[in-house]
Symmetry: C2
Subunit: 321 residues, 2 copies
Amino acid sequence: MHSFEDLSAEFSARFLTQHFPTHPASLYEPANYFLGIGGKRIRPVLCLMGNELFGDIDPDAWHLAASIELFHNFTLIHDDIMDKAPLRRGKPTVHEKYGASTALLTGDVMMVVAYDYLSKIQAQHIRPIMHIYNQTAREVCEGQQLDMDFESMDRVDLSAYQQMIGLKTSVLLAASLRIGAILGGAGLGNQQHLYDFGKNLGLAFQVQDDYLDAFGDPAKFGKQVGGDIVAGKKTFLLIKTLEVATEAQHREINDLKKADDAGKIKGMLRIFKACGVDAWARELKEQYMQTAYQHLEDIAVLARRKEPLQQLAAFLVQREY
Amino acid sequence: MHSFEDLSAEFSARFLTQHFPTHPASLYEPANYFLGIGGKRIRPVLCLMGNELFGDIDPDAWHLAASIELFHNFTLIHDDIMDKAPLRRGKPTVHEKYGASTALLTGDVMMVVAYDYLSKIQAQHIRPIMHIYNQTAREVCEGQQLDMDFESMDRVDLSAYQQMIGLKTSVLLAASLRIGAILGGAGLGNQQHLYDFGKNLGLAFQVQDDYLDAFGDPAKFGKQVGGDIVAGKKTFLLIKTLEVATEAQHREINDLKKADDAGKIKGMLRIFKACGVDAWARELKEQYMQTAYQHLEDIAVLARRKEPLQQLAAFLVQREY
C-alpha cells in the first residue's frame, strides 16, 4: 500500500517521458509545453489507488494512468480555447501561445495518444475499461457544453447545476478510481461504491472551491478572494443565492453589476451571508463527504486498505488554501 | 462479393441510426445535423471492401465502418473551424451554425463515439486494429498541422507537400482498407499491399482534384473552375509551378496577386500550361495509379475478388466532374 504522495511522485517520474513523436514540431512542441506546465496529477494517481485498494498494482495501471492524465490535459487545452483563458497555472495557455487552430489540433492529437496508451493494456481488460472510459469522456463533453449553456442563462436550477458539475469534474475522478479497481479485480458492487465515493468527493471539492473563492483566507488560499464574483461566474453560492434571495436582494445583485471589482466583491459577500449560503455551502460539502465516506465504508475490503483514500479525501476537502 | 454501390447503400441505411444520446441537445443536435449533411461514405465502404477482399463480411466490420465514418466527420468539423469554412457540401458548417465552441465540443464527442464503436468489436481484434487506428488518427492531425504550416510559407518543397497530402487525406483511406482486411483474416503482407494501394489511390485522387480545379470541364466538374487559384491555395500544380518557373514567370505570378478573380484564373492557367504542369500532373496521377494497381495485383487472393476495388479505383480517378 502506498500513500497518495508516494504514488504521485512515482507517476510524475514515469510520466516525464516522450509521449509524442518529434515531427512536426509545430504540433507536438505545444503538447509537450502544456504537459510541462505540470499539474497535481490527481486523476492518474486515483487510478493507481483504485487498483491498489484491491490488489497489487498491475503494470497496465501505469498505461491507464498516463492515458487518463493525457485525456484530462486534452480537455483542459480545449476548455481553455472555449473559455478564452489566457493563463493556466500562471503560464500562457496553448491557444494564447500557439494560436487557436494549433491548440485545437494539439488537443485532438493528445486525445488520440491517450487512447493509444489505453490500447496497450491486456486484451481481456480493454472492452470493460473502454466502455467506462468512453462513457466518461462523453459525459465530460456534456458537462462542458452544459456549463457553456448555463453561462448565457439568467437563472439555473440548483439540481441542473449539480448535474453539470458532476459531469464536468466529478465523473472523471470517479472513473479513474473505477478503472483502477477493474485492474485490481474488484467486483461490480465494489466498483460502483468506489465510483460513487469519487463522484461525491469531486462534488464536495467543487463546493469547497466555490466557498473558498468567496470566504477563504487569501493568505492560505493563494489567490485573490472573489475572483468568481468579479468574473460573474456561476457557482454553488451564486446559484443558491439566486434561488433564495428576496426581491430586494435580486435588485441589489442587479445593481452590483455596475459596481467596480472591490464593490462587487464586498456587496456579493454581504448578500451571500444575508442569504445564509455560507453555512449552506459548508453543510452541502459535509453531506457530499458523508455520502462519499459511506460508499468507501461499504467497499468489501479490509479497512486498512482504505486508509490512503481516506487520507487523500480528508486532505482534499479540508484544505484552506 | 459486392460492388461499391451495393455496400454504400447498405452502409448508408445502417448508418441512419441514432449515434448519440438526446441530452444535452445543444451538444448532440449539431452532431446529428452534420451527419445529416451526408457525404460519399467512401472510407467506411473501403473498410467493408477490405474485409470482403479476403472473406465474408464480419459483423464487426459494420461497427468499424461506423467508427471510421464518425472519425472522418470529426476531422471535418474541426478542419472547418480551423479553415474558417462557411459551407460544407453547400450547407452551413457546424461552427457557422452553432458557434466555434460548440463545434469544437461536437467534434470531440463525435471522436469519443467513434472510439466507442471500435470498442464493440471482438476482443482479439481490438489491439491490432486500435494500433493502426490510433497511428492513422495521429497522422491525420499531423497532416492538418503541416497543411496549416505550409499555408503561411512562400515556397513548399514538392516532396514535403506530397507527404502532407499523404497524411492529411490518403492514410485514412489506406487504413480503412487495412482495418477491413484484418477482420477478413489477411496476413501482414497482404495488409501492407492493400494499405499501399489505398495510399497511392488517395494521392492520385488528390492530384486529379487539383488538376480538375484548373483544367476540368465546368459543366462536368460541377463547381467553378479556378477556385483553388482564387483562394491562393497550395496545390500540386502551384507547388510544381513554383519549382520550375523562370524568374519572369515568378514575377508574373506575383503581379497576378493584384488581379481580379477572372484575371487571376486566366493568368495562372496560362503559366501552368507554359510550365507544362498540366501534362506533368496527368503523368503524376498515372504514376500513382500504376503503383496502386501494382499493389492490388500483388495481393495474394483470386483475381475476381479484386474486381470491386478495381472498378472503384477506375471510377474515382477517371471522373471528369
